[in-house]
Structures are given as C-alpha cells and as structure tokens.
Subunit: 254 residues, 2 copies
C-alpha cells in the first residue's frame, strides 16, 4: 500500500473544453498497483496556482504525486516554473533532457530549449511518444512525477518510468474487485444491506451507483473493491446476492 495525489494543470479542464480522462486513467492505474489516491486538484496554467496546489498536495505527504499537463514548449506551459517557484529552485539546462529532445527533432528552437530547462536536482524522463520529457523530483519524502498532458505521452512515461520506479521503491499491492447489478431495490433500501456487509467485512469497500429506473424497477450498480483480501470480495458478493434476493430484488447477470 502507498498513498498518491494527482494534480492536473490546464485551463481547458476548467472551461469545460476537455474532460479529465487523465485523472481516470491515473487513479485506475495507481489503485490497481495498491495505491490510495486521496485527493485530486485541477488548476489553471498559472505559476501561483500551480505552486499553491503543490503546497496542498505535499502537505498530505503522499508517497507519489503525479502532476500532468503544462510541460510543452509554449509560454502557457508553466508546470516546471510552478515547481521551481514552489521549491525555491532555478530551472537549469539539463544535458540529458536536451539529448532526449535532440533525439526527437531535427532542430532546436526557443520552445524546445525551454523543455530542456528543468528544476535543479530533478531527473528528466524519456518520452517515447512526444518531445517533452517528463520530470522526476524528490520534494521532502514525496516523489513528484511531472508528466505531459497529452494522454498518449502521459501514459507512456507513466508505464515506462513511473511504474518501474514504484516497483523498485514502494510496497505495491493489487486490487480485487467485483461488480453486481441489482434490480428492484431502491437505494434507500440498499443502504442498510451495504452498511451491514461493510461492518461484517471491513476490508471490502462497497460503492452503490443508482442507475435510475428500468421497467419500473430501481437499478443499482454495486462495486466491491479490496486492496487486501480477494476472498472477502467473493464472500461479500455471496452475502449481497442472498440479501438482495431475500428483499425481493433480482441480480442481473454480469
């Protein structure tokens, strides 16, 4: 088990232009690796806002802090400036970063040179898909990974560099889960059934998602997860099936 936070950077996420699927993907990956994603913050492309959000995330002392977005060549890509400002560091030309960028492009220009300037003491991470390197920096005991906002580049660096790092240094785990679809029991009657099951099996988390009414019957999706105990997930599922049927509900095949 380890703890994680995610910081997403980009105006497009706060004007309704882009949906933050990076957070979905990252929190799925981190959870499956045994991580507990405690909080996620989304801020605009502003150095002060990025710095304030970094301070908030670091206060929680997560093992891993993933920052996505704002690593590109344009003037509104300010993530590394935000990190440097927050930590009182300068941005310095990093020769490894420069070589990674040179290997991807024919010629250098101001924007590409900008991407080679990373906070002093940080390490560039190879980007196999695009040009902007990721950045790994240790802040106190927090391992901060800054990744591009372009989903394919973010995923590639996460898989090649971040997961590899985590496997070396963190007590990784697994995620055990099960889904069930209940028909005929309204959410307010499902509540005590779930509550009782969670008290009996404290290592399993049960989340209910009401999906509206289907042919006059309330439809609820149940999601069972445990990061510690696969047997308890199966046990809870059996208990829930039995209770839902006894309350007059139906389990849809799934």
């Amino acid at each position: 088990m380890f703890t994680a936070e995610v910081l997403s950077i980009g105006n497009e996420l706060l004007i309704g232009q882009t949906t933050n699927t990076n957070l979905t993907w990252l929190s799925d990956q981190l959870t499956r690796l045994g991580g507990f994603v405690r909080r996620a913050i989304t801020v605009r492309d502003e150095i002060i806002e990025i710095s304030e959000a970094l301070t908030l995330a670091i206060q929680h002392h997560p093992n891993i802090l993933i920052v996505s977005g704002g690593l590109g060549p344009t003037f509104d890509d300010k993530t590394l400036q935000g990190i440097a400002y927050n930590q009182g560091l300068c941005l310095r030309l990093n020769n490894r970063a420069l070589n990674l960028i040179r290997a991807k492009v024919k010629e250098l220009n101001a924007g590409r040179l900008k991407m080679a300037h990373i906070p002093e003491g940080s390490q560039p991470l190879r980007n196999l898909v695009g040009t902007a390197p990721g950045v790994h920096i240790i802040v106190g005991k927090v391992h901060l990974f800054a990744l591009p906002g372009v989903p394919s580049e973010m995923r590639s660096i996460f898989k090649h560099s971040v997961i590899r790092f985590m496997r070396r240094t963190l007590p990784l785990g697994s995620l055990y889960e099960a889904y069930m679809l209940s028909l005929g029991i309204p959410e307010s009657k499902m509540a005590p059934i779930i509550y009782e099951a969670m008290n009996r099996f404290p290592e399993v988390y049960i989340k209910s998602h009401p999906l509206g009414i289907e042919e006059g019957r309330p439809k609820i999706n149940l999601h069972l997860t445990s990061q510690t105990n696969s047997k308890q997930v199966r046990d809870v599922k059996a208990v829930l099936i039995s209770k839902i049927r006894r309350s007059g509900g139906v389990i849809a095949a799934r």
Copy 2:
C-alpha cells in the same frame, strides 16, 4: 464576470471507476455564463476530507461554489455532514426538504429521512429528476450549492435553481470563442505566434492543443476565447490565419 470553484465528492472518481464529466459540464456552463472557474478539487466520501476541501475553496472567496456528489440516502453520502462539520452547524429536519422527498416516493425510510436533514440555515432545492434535494447555503459571501452526483439530477437542479439564482444576483456575461485547426506548424514554432497575438489582443485567451502528426504534418487545435470582446476574437482569428500561412502552415476548414 464572477468567480467559481467546483468540489467533486466520490471515491469512484479517485479509483478510476468514473470520469468526472460533471466537472466538464459545470465548468462549461459556468464559463458560458461569464464565470471564471479558478480551481476544482476532488475528494473521497469522508467528512474530514470534504471539510478540508470546503475550507480551501472558501479561502478563495468565489461567488459560487458548486459541490457535486454525496447527497444520496446511503451511509457513504456525507456531503451535508461535511458542510455541517466545516461550518459548525447541525443537520436539522427541513420540512420543505421532507415535502420534496415525500412528493417523489411512496413511503419514508431511514435513507429518505436522512436526505431531509440539511444544515441549519440552508435551503433545499427541488430535484425534478431524482429524490435527493439539492442544498443552497451561504457561507460568508460564498453561495454554496450542493448538487447530486448523478449527472441528470445535477444538471436539472443547476438549470432550474442555480442558474436562476445567478441571473438574479450576479453580473453574468457571455463567452465568445473560435476554433482553428492548423497543419504543418510544430508547437514550438506556434508558440511565438500565439504569444505575439495574445500581447496584441489581451482580452482574448488562446490555447493550443497539439494533436500529433498527420501525414507528416504537425496538427494543432487552437481555441480562442474571450469573456469580454467578440470582435477581438474575430480579429485574432484573422491575424493567426495570416501568420500561420506565412509560416508555411495550412488552416484546415472548420
């Protein structure tokens, strides 16, 4: 112009099970109404986490704070407990809330009664789609609207109650925007073109989104927005088209 923050509540958003499309929809709506969404926070279904995030959002003194999720009948719907804890208020049976719920269901039970207990001093908001009423509470000068996490219910209460409230009390505005698709100019060469245009037309914000390489040519989506000046958006678009063409790029019809 007014300012806004969004707080999303739900474990499902932090384990990768659900993508936060509510934030996309809300920030689109708020931006189109003339709002500036400064930051968005996502937390788990925990009273302390909700309270901490509320404190952070309130510190920014937004005109509007939208909270979505955690209003249902189950034990892990803790948004109102989080608000009450944060503000030192008790949850009190609200007769209007109870009547709104009674109008939607045949019988009361513990879960439904829970939804009728809202922070003292707050107002319930009618939910035309589902059962859980929304809640409006004034915290200092911040108007906090707690809405359900089910998208159809959240949207309905936002349109019927929140927008109506904002029209009465806030200086609403409009959003002027334009999109362009550029082919043949890499992002690092686009950067100075955008930078120059934004310096010349400070009321227009230009955001570039690299979309990879198409038939050997870099493809970039440009999004122009202004909350104040529709003419400047058209002027900037003309300037960008001219500069991109002079730099050897092509504007794809759009």
